[in-house]
C-alpha cells in the first residue's frame, strides 16, 4: 500500500426509479490495497461497484483515476483503464467451454480466434496463481467454486490493475473461500489493487481497509486492525446491536418415530447428473433439522421432492409410514406440509398479484375462501389484514402487488401463507437469503415458535452460524449426497465446512 489514490469517487450519486442507491459517495481505493466494502443487503455496494466499472452511469459526482477525472461510459472504458469486475451473479455462458467464456469479446481486432495462443496465456496465469481448471470443460459441468475461478480468470486474462469482486465468497465453501483469499493476496503482490464486497465479518477483518456502507451512503473508511467486529457492525447498522451469540439450545423432542422419512432418494437432472444421490433423512416433530451446503448441491431438488413438485427417479418418502413420493403437490399440502422456496419471486409469489391473493395462493379452493363458484373476497381480505398485522408486513394495504414490497416483506408474505396453512411440517429453503438482520431475526423466531408448537422443520441455509444456533441436528449436503449428520450442540463451523468441502464424516 503506497497511500496513493488510484481510483476515487467524489460525491458520486446514483438513483434508480424510487430508490437512492448511492448518495454522495466519497470512496478512495489506494494503490496495492485490498479494500472491503461492508454493508447490509441493499446498502448500495453493488451499485457503487457497477459505477466504478462503467456498467451504470452515475447521476452525479465524478470518478477520478490517478487524480485525473474520467468518464466511464461503458465497461469498455473502464476495461481500458485496467479495471475488471466479477459480478455477484456470475456472467457466464453455461454451454460454452471455459476457454470460450474467457476469450469471448476480448480480442476485437482480429476476425479469427487464436484458441491456442489464448490457452497458453491462460496456462501461465493459472500456474502462477495455482488455479486448476480444464479449459475445454463446459462451464455448466463445473462446480460453483470452479465457476468463480473462471470469472476471476476473465479479469486476469485482460491484465487488470484493479479487480472488483462482488460478494465472491457468497457461493463458496469455507475451504474455497480460504483459497480465494490466498489468491487475492497473491494478486496484491503482483500489483493488483482489489475491492471486494462481503458481509461476513470474519472476511472483512482480512482486508487492508474497510469502507462501511449503509442505506446508500458511505459511513466511514477504517482500518480493521484499529477496530473491532462489534464496532464495524454498529457502523453498518447505524445503531447498537448485539452480535448474535451462541445460545444454549435446550430443545427436547422424541426421536423414536419420524414424521417424515426419506429413503435412498435419487434423481438425475436433465444433464444426466445425479442431483439427488441416495439421500436418506429422518425428520421428527418438534425439531429443526438444518441442511448445510452451498446452494446448487441438490437442495432445490430435495425440497421439490418433499413438496410434491418433483418426482424422484427412485427411493421413498414416507409420511407417518405412508409412502407419498411422486404424488401431486396437493397431496403434500393436504398433509400439512408448507414450503418456503428459495426463489421468492419466481416460485413463492406471483409478483403482479396483490398481498391478499398471494396469501391464499394454492389454497384458493378452501371453503373459507370461496362462495360457490366465486372467491370470497371479504374473507380473504380479512385474513390478509390479520396476517399483515401478525407478521408485521410493512405495506399501506392488502391490495398492494407484492412486486412493490421490499424483499423482506415479500418473504414475510410467503411465511405468513405457509405457516397459516400448514400444521405439521415446514420446509424452508434459504428463507433468509438477502434479508436485513432485523427480518432474519424475525423469520428465525417464527420458525422457532412453530418448532415449539410441534412442527417438524427442515431448514436449508448457507449461513452455518445461524444453523448451529437454531437447529437441533444439521445434515450436510454436497453434490447431491448427504455427507454427514451432526448434532448442532456438539459441532463447529469448521467441522461442517470440512464436510461441505466434500469429505465424508469419517475422513474429516
Amino acid at each position: 500500500m503506497s497511500g496513493q489514490a488510484l481510483l476515487e469517487t467524489k460525491m458520486l450519486t446514483k438513483h434508480f426509479p424510487g430508490v437512492v442507491a448511492n448518495e454522495g459517495i466519497n470512496f478512495v481505493l489506494e494503490e496495492g490495497e485490498v479494500h472491503c466494502l461492508f454493508g447490509e443487503n441493499g446498502a448500495g455496494k453493488s451499485t457503487l461497484c457497477s459505477c466504478l466499472f462503467g456498467y451504470y452511469r452515475p447521476d452525479g459526482g465524478s470518478i477520478e483515476f490517478k487524480g485525473e477525472p474520467v468518464k466511464f461510459r461503458s465497461p469498455r472504458d473502464s476495461i481500458r483503464y485496467g479495471i475488471g469486475m466479477v459480478h455477484q451473479h456470475f456472467v457466464l455462458v453455461d454451454e460454452f467451454t471455459v476457454l470460450e467464456n474467457i476469450i469471448v469479446g476480448t480480442n476485437t481486432e482480429k476476425w479469427s480466434l487464436d484458441l491456442e495462443a489464448s490457452e497458453n496465456q491462460l496456462k501461465n496465469i493459472c500456474d502462477e496463481y495455482g488455479i486448476d481448471l480444464k479449459f475445454n470443460s463446459l462451464v455448466r459441468d463445473l462446480s460453483v467454486g470452479e465457476q468463480q475461478w473462471v470469472e476471476i480468470l476473465k479479469s486476469l486474462y485482460l491484465k487488470v490493475e484493479i479487480l472488483i469482486l462482488d460478494e465472491p465468497t457468497a457461493v463458496l465453501t469455507p475451504e474455497e473461500s480460504n483459497k480465494l483469499f490466498k489468491i487475492m493476496h497473491k494478486m496484491g503482490q503482483n500489483g493488483i489493487s482489489i475491492i471486494f464486497i462481503s458481509h461476513k465479518i470474519s472476511e472483512v477483518m482480512l482486508a487492508d481497509r474497510v469502507s462501511v456502507m449503509s442505506k446508500g451512503r458511505l459511513i466511514d473508511t477504517v482500518f480493521p486492525r484499529e477496530t473491532t467486529p462489534q464496532e464495524l457492525t454498529n457502523l453498518m447498522i447505524g445503531r447498537e446491536v448485539k452480535l448474535r451469540v451462541i445460545e444454549e439450545n435446550d430443545n427436547e423432542y422424541d426421536r423414536s418415530y419420524p414424521i417424515l422419512s426419506i429413503n435412498n432418494l435419487k434423481y438425475k437432472n436433465k444433464y444426466g447428473k445425479f442431483a439427488l444421490n441416495d439421500i436418506s433423512l429422518n425428520l421428527y416433530s418438534g425439531e429443526i433439522l438444518g441442511l448445510a451446503g452451498v446452494s446448487g448441491n441438490g437442495q432445490k431438488e430435495l425440497f421439490e421432492s418433499l413438496s410434491g413438485n418433483l418426482n424422484p427417479d427412485s427411493g421413498t418418502i414416507s409420511y407417518e409410514g405412508k409412502e407419498i413420493q411422486g404424488r401431486s403437490s396437493r397431496v403434500f399440502m393436504d398433509l400439512g406440509i408448507g414450503l418456503i422456496p428459495d426463489d421468492r419471486y419466481r416460485e413463492g409469489l406471483v409478483s403482479d398479484f396483490d398481498i391478499s391473493e398471494n396469501i391464499i395462493l394454492g389454497w384458493q379452493r378452501l371453503n373459507d375462501y370461496t362462495k360457490g363458484f366465486f372467491l370470497n373476497r371479504n374473507n380473504i381480505k380479512r385474513l390478509a389484514e390479520d396476517l399483515i398485522k401478525k407478521f408485521n408486513i410493512m405495506t399501506p394495504s392488502s391490495t398492494v402487488p407484492v412486486s412493490h414490497l421490499s424483499g423482506g416483506n415479500a418473504q414475510k408474505v410467503i411465511l405468513a401463507r405457509e405457516l397459516n396453512h400448514s400444521n405439521k411440517i415446514l420446509l424452508a429453503n434459504q428463507p433468509t437469503r438477502g434479508l436485513d438482520l432485523g427480518v432474519i431475526e424475525y423469520v428465525y423466531n417464527q420458525i422457532k415458535l412453530k418448532r415449539d408448537e410441534g412442527f417438524a422443520v427442515l431448514l436449508a441455509s448457507e449461513e452455518l452460524e445461524d444453523l448451529i444456533n437454531l437447529c437441533d441436528r444439521i445434515a450436510i449436503i454436497s453434490d447431491g449426497e448427504i455427507k454427514g449428520i451432526v448434532e448442532a450442540k456438539s459441532t463447529s463451523i469448521q467441522d461442517i465446512g470440512l464436510l461441505m468441502a466434500g469429505q465424508s464424516e469419517t475422513s474429516a
Binding site: D77, V91, F96, I103, W111, S112, K270
Partner: protein, 309 residues
C-alpha cells in the same frame, strides 16, 4: 412401369430434393444465425415472400436475373433491419413482431401484386437455368442428381460449412452465439449487444430473402401470393429439429425437401392415392420430429428474451 421409367423417376425425385431444399436451406441457415444471436424471428415466412415479390418485380422490369437476386437479398436485409429495430432496440415481444410482420407482408405483397398486374395477365420472366458442371454432369445418375443444378443450389449447400465456420471459428461468431446464451457477457465487455444482434438478423434475413428470390426465380415464371406455402415455417422447424446446429439443420431441411419432392412426383406418375396427402408429408414430418425431439433441445438459453441492462 418399365425399369427405365422407375430409374428416371428416382433420379428426378433426388434432383428435385436438392432444388426444393435450396430456398428452405437459405432461410433456415440464415434464421439459425439470427436465433443464435437470441432473436426468435418468427418473420421468416414474410421475409421470404418479400424477397420473392421484390425479385419478381425486378426480374420482370429489368430482365436481369442477377439484379433480381440481389434485390431479393436486399429486401430481406431491410426486413431484418425492421425486425432488429423492433426486437433489439424497442424490445417488443419477438413472437408478436414476427407474426405481425408476416400478416403485414402477406397482405402488402398481395396488394402490390394486384396493382402491379393492373387486372391483366401477370408479366412473366425467364427463370434460372440449370448449370451442367462439365465432365461431372455426364456421370450416370449422380451427374444428373448432383451436377446439373442451379448455381444457387451449390451456394446454399456451401453456406452450411461457411456459416458453421463463422459461428464456431471466428470471434464474431463466438460473440453472436454468446448473445443467444447470455448477452450480459457481451455487455460487460463494453461491446454493443444491439449492434451484434443487428448484424446477425441482417445476415440472416438477407439469406432468407435470397431463399425467397430462389423460390421465385428457380421454380416458376410469375408471382403467386401464396408461393412460399409455409416454407418459412419449415425453416424454423428445421432449426428446432436440427437442434440449432448447422449440420442438424441441414439434415432436417433435406428430409423435408425429400418428402416434398416425393409428393411432387406422386402427382406426376398418377398413382391412385390423392397426391394432396403427400404434400402434407413435410408438415406431418415436422410435427412428428417436434414431438420426438421435444426433450432433447439445445435451444439457446436466452432465445427470444429481450435484453435489459
Amino acid at each position: 412401369m418399365s425399369e427405365l421409367f422407375q430409374e428416371a423417376v428416382i433420379i428426378s425425385i433426388l434432383a428435385g430434393t436438392l432444388r426444393i431444399m435450396t430456398p428452405i436451406l437459405f432461410a433456415a441457415i440464415g434464421e439459425l444465425v439470427t436465433q443464435r444471436a437470441g432473436i426468435w424471428n418468427m418473420g421468416v415466412e414474410g421475409t421470404m415472400i418479400m424477397g420473392a415479390f421484390v425479385s419478381y418485380v425486378v426480374a420482370t422490369q429489368s430482365d436481369s436475373l442477377p439484379l433480381a437476386i440481389l434485390s431479393g437479398i436486399l429486401s430481406g436485409m431491410v426486413m431484418g433491419l425492421i425486425i432488429g429495430f423492433m426486437t433489439s432496440t424497442l424490445r417488443v415481444d419477438h413472437f408478436i413482431t414476427g407474426l405481425g410482420l408476416n400478416l403485414l407482408v402477406g397482405g402488402l405483397t398481395f396488394f402490390w401484386f394486384r396493382i402491379y398486374v393492373k387486372g391483366g395477365h401477370p408479366p412473366t420472366f425467364t427463370g434460372l437455368e440449370n448449370f451442367s458442371i462439365p465432365i461431372l454432369a455426364s456421370i450416370p445418375i449422380l451427374g444428373e442428381v448432383f451436377f446439373n443444378q442451379k448455381p444457387l443450389t451449390y451456394i446454399a449447400i456451401l453456406s452450411v460449412p461457411v456459416v458453421s465456420y463463422f459461428l464456431y471459428r471466428t470471434r464474431w461468431g463466438l460473440e453472436i452465439r454468446c448473445l443467444g446464451e447470455n448477452p450480459k457477457a457481451i455487455d460487460i465487455k463494453g461491446l454493443s449487444v444491439a449492434l451484434r444482434q443487428y448484424i446477425a438478423i441482417i445476415i440472416g434475413s438477407g439469406m432468407t430473402g435470397l431463399g425467397g428470390a430462389f423460390l421465385m426465380l428457380g421454380f416458376s415464371d410469375r408471382f403467386q401470393p401464396d408461393l412460399t406455402a409455409g416454407k418459412g415455417w419449415l425453416a424454423i422447424v428445421a432449426i428446432i429439429a436440427g437442434k440449432w446446429l448447422p449440420k442438424g439443420v441441414f439434415a432436417a431441411v433435406l428430409v423435408f425437401a425429400f418428402l416434398e419432392s416425393v409428393a411432387v412426383h406422386v402427382q406426376i406418375i398418377d398413382a391412385d392415392i390423392p397426391y394432396q396427402i403427400f404434400f402434407a408429408l413435410p408438415y406431418l414430418a415436422s410435427i412428428i420430429l417436434l414431438i420426438l425431439l421435444r426433450r432433447k433441445t439445445n435451444q439457446p438459453a436466452r432465445l427470444g428474451v429481450p435484453y435489459f441492462r
